[in-house]
Symmetry: D2
């Protein structure tokens, strides 16, 4: 029997976390040959070298695509996408996949979508239909209109993709694979590793046994000129709050990440942050395990909206990055304000822990996705439904 | 007063014809500085060097972008788009436009859309919301989701863009500028030029005074492997039908155009086509004037759907390329069949001339477009309406 | 035993003819795994699709690289080279060759040289050390300075490469593989095929039994603005000379080839050329067989300097393209002058046939090249000898 | 009078230091319009943003070219060059320079050379003819063969360029502009600035008044896999030697710089380096002023060979990076050995200060270069002299 060649392109560390259980299910599926392409910041050391975790998780990488043009400005983001198309089209010619899978909505995922759709290769899009309100949203819905199959993560997203005129037989609410990982992690009754030893990192090494906060704040594409000011607002809050230790994660690569990174680096030189430790990144399960036993997550990561709602971890969501994403009772939204962040931290410590919610699935998304892709009929011809 | 810099990117001969009156109105508008970028096949001799007509029409070209990668296969189309992003992002950096305008739905227009939207430059899309059913349709709706303003050509298109979740204040039914040109041409009572003298071309030079047919048939992206067979079906019909002369236009550059071009070239070597003359291209007004006095248009050009419905020119529309486009009573749809083409030709000659219809506007689209762009508020931040 | 992976990049039809016997010898060599990459105009139909001949000759293509940017101007030549580097570096990453081989001096061969040398892959250059006097010469010597091994075609070239400071142990005078083919062809006592039937082509089909001329004239890079004038000078001569038939070959792809092609195409429309037939290309051995039985070659192809000196075929070499290349007694050099061309034709018809010369080897170059590459020590570190 | 447009492309911080006085002289020259293009790492913050210094020095930047592809491996270096060609050819089309100037021998300078020479723009090369023995040397001599004018920095280099077959009328020994700056700096009797205040940086802030060492060690292209080991050897020496403070400069961007940077960063986390301060970069004159009053320079920068020989600053030159470069009595060559480095430091402290030498000119190179370029006849056609 000829296996169906399903080619998944992973372009960033968070995308891998989000898709990992689907990759495992695809790899294990008897009718599928998984082709794994790793590209963009997922290959780069200063963004956490996600590729190393993939290999450690037992995946074989079929192609590596270096396409990040340095510059950390918007022009570089456009050019990175252009180079991505040049490179990925060659990769697809070599691999001859039956289906290409692109994940979520980072700007460079458009390169995957264009290369595949222009080459008449059926395109599956994971996590379409959500709503955020910046360039990610333009990218996400734009990819929906190029994609032939839509594997969405919530009912909300499913309705939106259908409204966009997609054929109902091509839309599948599989839940979000990130919840699969969260389900495994939720079973663990304590922190399973000692972060400083396992992941190194830099900064102080405060005792975590009495609880700790986690911070992860990315630059926002259409506010990138303010990224340094934004990060400093949060840094001020953390500097003033010294009751509990803080685990801080470096931002991912986006226009403006230099402002964010530089802001953090410069702040560290100016101030003592004796209760703060910095990590570049962690394996997804360790990261969720860390979150699960934290007092709460501060920043603007989608992990706060998604995994944390399932885990029941309190979240202080800062600024506009997660605007209009469907969220649970665990989220407190605040602006770029030191006072508001500090106030929310107090509120969390005094309130009871939020309950677990199922908005983004109940932990079997990876299998659902693999099953859909293995069984779906191949097609690359579509037309709008209205 | 500071003029609003409006940058229009033209990538192909037919796009220029379609946008010309809008360009003239933008150039004449007191509040606007028109920036004109010519790219892709619009620069290439073997596709008619549209750029020469633009210069002859009095336009100054602000930048030329060569991005067509030779290969005439689908991979080359993807790579052409990638190179287009690399080049256009540099052009936009140099020109610093306030608004970028992309026209219609050819695959390489996506490069304009991505470069502009990723660089946070407000993006206007002309002729979104239509429906065809091949890669053009994926591209068109995908660009709608990247664009900040939508200048659509018909009521049908307007409704579709709104259904796609766009903000109603950003959607404008301006009509199609191609109709503006048709309105001018429609006033002319006879053929205003002698084609062989004015445009050279190759082949026989039959007498046109007793009427003639026009043929224009492009390859269809997702059927490109059959492009040679398809063109030969039409060639067979034309070879068998020798009652009236035929004016044949070479196809534009698409994956498969080599099959189409080669098919025509090879056919000419094998058969005498003493009643057929071949042109690479014509100025838009001459082309419409030629159509207006023809017996009818044969092929799959959108001109048949659009300008010919206004002009009341009979059209034999072959195959799937114009599927689901709103059309008038002037169109007879046929498959790739020599017999059906011949039968439709007979039917046209025996039936009365179709009436003029206003589906795509009444001839003031150019001015409408210029007015909208001159007055619209600058923004590049949007979110889906549902 | 592990085979040495030798990767040869062929970018044009004439390069293939020139390297074919070396490819055969490499393919047959017991210690070698031949990796064949076909790129640039060697893949394109309008330049003769050399790749088809390679496959017909039994070669397997390991990678195809489309990198020709349309434009036929000097900027496009530069960009074609840039794209070539992007693509070839990916190809070399996939193929992991032990040695990369680049052939001769066309502008795009620099892409091969840069990709390989920058990636620390030992680079062999075939046909360095020659002298011509235009951009080809800059390219050729520039590649010599990037290359680790030099397989030159004549004593003259060997001396020049040594003077350029290369290590004598890295320079090998193997002779030119094109002579290997010429040696085989020289044994044939008559034309082995009927050109019109075997190769199609366009134009008149004059009787060749009483003798014929062959024309092959390429545009000259640094004179590309004059390419149309230059070709018309030759066309005028051929139009005036109608005593014998003429077999004319279309030019290769260079900046200016559009001027040359357009010149020929337009001339054909204006004038009857009842004694001229046009071919796009031929298999190398058929082409030499055709030359061997012709009255002489007219134009500026290096075949006139090289293979024709071995075959003893008279050559009218027009213009500067072959300047300073070592040549035999078979060559008459003329300027861009209709009169001079006509006069040289008369002279050839009245003089005795030139003798065979061995300037570029005696027919075993292919084997020599394979042997050198199979046995050479791997290295990519060098320094100038003075 | 029409000014001669001379376009200089600067791709890295050290190249700017090396060319600065020539840029000033070109800017001031009455017959010249200077066009300044800044590209590659010269634009990037993590390599010192040389462009900021240029602007602070009063230069206007005509174009910025982002072409560094992230990856810090050899493939990325090749691709960076390919992207550079794509971008620079567009820049040259816009600027229409009469002459393009490329500086020295970093891998990406080849992009400048190819774009200019392929576009028939006369190309001047500064600092050709030197000898080092790694990929830089291949690049340097390869550019010599593409360049039309050679502005060399020493008699040694002049002889070598002539031996490479260049026309003697195109070779000019102007001296090295870096010496111009050194001449100005040499007049200063003390350190003119307080480094920690002026340049920030990270690490300890030891008192410099009793003397200090300077360290600058770059990765070596063809040893990039060992770059971490190499830098650690030097770090070990500096850690063991605590008698005097050390000013350490981060490496430039090359394949392997990540190993070097990571090595330093990780070392800082593991060990206390209380006598070491780290800078990203400095303005060229401040850097030379710092060197001039130091005990000596340790590492493999060409500054040690060139400016330091004029300044009479002792240099410990580590490893192969400066192999075969003509050097003065101020240089002690050592291998990658902690012991040898420590021993050389002792030797320097006990020996008398070396005398100033004139190997690379006497301080008027900038004016010489401007004068040559202003007066040279335009040409892009050349042939080898033998």
């Amino acid at each position: 029997m000829i296996l169906k060649k399903i080619c998944v392109v992973v372009t960033a560390r968070p995308s891998y976390s989000r898709i990992k259980t689907a990759l495992l299910a695809l790899k294990a599926h008897k009718d599928v040959q998984l082709q794994l392409v790793v590209a963009a910041s997922a290959l780069l050391e200063r963004y956490g070298t996600a590729v190393n975790y993939m290999e450690a998780d037992g995946f074989t990488i079929d192609a590596k695509v270096f396409n990040v043009l340095e510059g950390e400005n918007l022009t570089a983001a456009a050019k990175t996408t252009g180079i991505g198309i040049l490179e990925l089209s060659s990769v697809f010619e070599n691999l001859q996949p039956d289906i290409v899978v692109t994940v979520a909505d980072r700007f460079e995922t458009m390169a995957t979508a264009i290369a595949a759709s222009y080459m008449n290769i059926p395109l599956a899009h994971i996590q379409g239909g959500e709503v955020t309100g910046n360039i990610d949203e333009k990218v996400r819905h734009s990819i929906t209109k190029l994609a032939d199959y839509h594997l969405v993560a919530s009912q909300d997203a499913e309705h939106r993709v259908l409204k966009l005129g997609e054929d109902p037989t091509s839309v599948f609410n599989t839940g979000c694979p990130s919840i699969d990982l969260a389900r495994e992690v939720k079973k663990l009754s304590s922190l399973q590793f000692y972060p400083y030893t396992t992941y190194g990192g830099v900064g102080a090494k405060p005792d975590l046994s009495q609880g700790y906060w986690v911070v992860m704040q990315h630059p926002v594409t259409n506010e990138y000129k303010d990224s340094r000011t934004h990060i400093e607002t949060t840094l001020d809050a953390i500097r003033q709050y010294t009751d509990l230790p803080v685990i801080w994660f470096w931002p991912n690569v986006d226009a403006g990440s230099d402002g964010t990174s530089t802001g953090i680096r410069s702040y560290r030189e100016r101030f003592n942050l004796d209760h703060v430790h910095f990590f570049k990144n962690m394996k997804g399960d360790d990261f969720l395990n860390l979150l699960d036993h934290s007092k709460g997550l501060i920043g603007n990561s989608s992990v706060g909206i998604r995994e944390c709602s399932y885990l029941g971890v309190p979240v202080i969501n800062i600024g506009s990055r997660q605007n209009r994403r469907q969220r649970g009772a665990n989220v407190i939204d605040v602006g770029y304000s030191t006072a508001d962040i500090l106030q929310a931290m107090q509120k969390i410590l005094t309130n009871p822990r939020p309950a677990s919610e199922n908005i983004y699935g109940n932990g079997d998304a990876g299998k659902n996705i693999a099953e859909v892709l293995a069984n779906v009929e191949l097609k690359f011809h579509k037309t709008i439904s209205y």
